[in-house]
Amino acid sequence: MSEHTLDPAAAAPAAVPADASSVRSARDWTIAAVAAVIALLALWAVFFDNGQAIAATGDYLHEFSHDGRHLFGAPCH
């Protein structure tokens, strides 16, 4: 047994005030929102792009994900 107290209330970071936790919570939800936007962009690139994303190089994204589009039921040419 340790000589330190095992009382969780004493061991816990009591110095963290409530507003610090709400700041951390806001930060975490912001990260989640950014991740959701990136996920939407990725889905758009894979399933909805018809050559707009890399216009200079042609239909690369569309052709690369061609089989996946058909298989997941996305509209394709």
Binding site: V16, D28, A42
Partner: protein, 264 residues
């Protein structure tokens, strides 16, 4: 309790990414092995159709520069990559939805296995089955590039309606359960909402493109497409639930508190 539990969303986001990535890989390999040969056959038929057409059509396609951007091998690899990207993206939404649905008990104090499977089932219903019944997948060779914009809008609308209908059914079930209604009442209510959603979906205009592939190939392809969706959602729910069972909230909190605790 003066201590603050860590916000549940980041661990759930990580769990969603892990579950989604592995589910995407699994469904991609499933699709490659099972549906890949079917797609190759559809493409061979399409080329055959083009080449046995009039010389005029052949000349037009040559003038049009119908050289393929990627080989079939690269497109096979692209299929797996597409599935993994899809899985990762759905995993992000899955983790966020899980955090929102089970705010206080998202990390501990719930049946994570059943919850994850239930949410995966709802996701399959909302984004795969309901839209897929209205606009079933079609193999390569079907699809007019002139109508692709319209079809994308219809597909997006169908997924939105599927998600809205499933969310409404979920909510209604929760409300009825809170009011103490018995299971047959709750389940009938859910069935009615889903039936109404399906009715609305069939009020949307039909897919305008003609289908010129053999019926047998079309049927097999559509069935395998739906199976690929099912594999993705089932694996996503199962891996997410399994990671939920393994997650130790004490250890999770411990890593957060370690910095504030004197090293001993």
């Amino acid at each position: 309790m003066t201590t603050s539990a860590p916000s549940p969303v980041l661990p759930l986001l990580a769990r969603g990414l892990a579950a989604g990535g592995s589910a995407g890989l699994l469904s991609g390999l499933f699709a490659l092995l099972v549906a890949g040969p079917l797609m190759d056959r559809a493409i061979a038929l399409e080329e055959e159709r083009e080449h046995t057409g009039q010389a005029l059509a052949l000349a037009a396609s040559l003038a049009h520069g119908e050289t393929e951007v990627f080989s079939r091998g690269t497109q096979h690899f692209g299929l797996v990559v597409t599935a993994v990207v899809t899985g990762l993206a759905l995993g992000v939404f899955f983790g966020i939805a899980y955090a929102l649905l089970h705010r206080r008990t998202a990390l501990s104090g719930g049946d994570h296995w059943m919850r994850a499977l239930t949410l995966a089932g709802a996701g399959f219903l909302a984004l795969s089955l309901l839209p897929g019944l209205r606009y079933p997948a079609s193999p390569p060779g079907v699809g007019d590039s002139g109508t692709v914009g319209d079809r994308q809008l219809l597909w997006l609308t169908a997924m939105f309606l599927g998600a809205a209908g499933t969310a409404a059914a979920w909510r209604l079930h929760r409300t009825l359960a809170a009011a103490g209604r018995p299971a047959p009442v709750r389940h009938s209510a859910v069935a009615l909402v889903l039936l109404a959603t399906l009715t609305v979906l069939f009020l949307l205009p039909p897919n305008p493109d003609p289908v010129r592939v053999p019926a047998e190939l079309l049927w097999d392809f559509r069935l395998l497409s739906l199976a690929g969706h099912a594999v993705l959602w089932a694996a996503l729910g199962a891996v997410f639930g399994w990671l939920g069972l393994r997650y130790d909230p004490a250890a999770g909190r411990g890593t957060f508190a370690a910095a504030a605790r004197p090293a001993g």
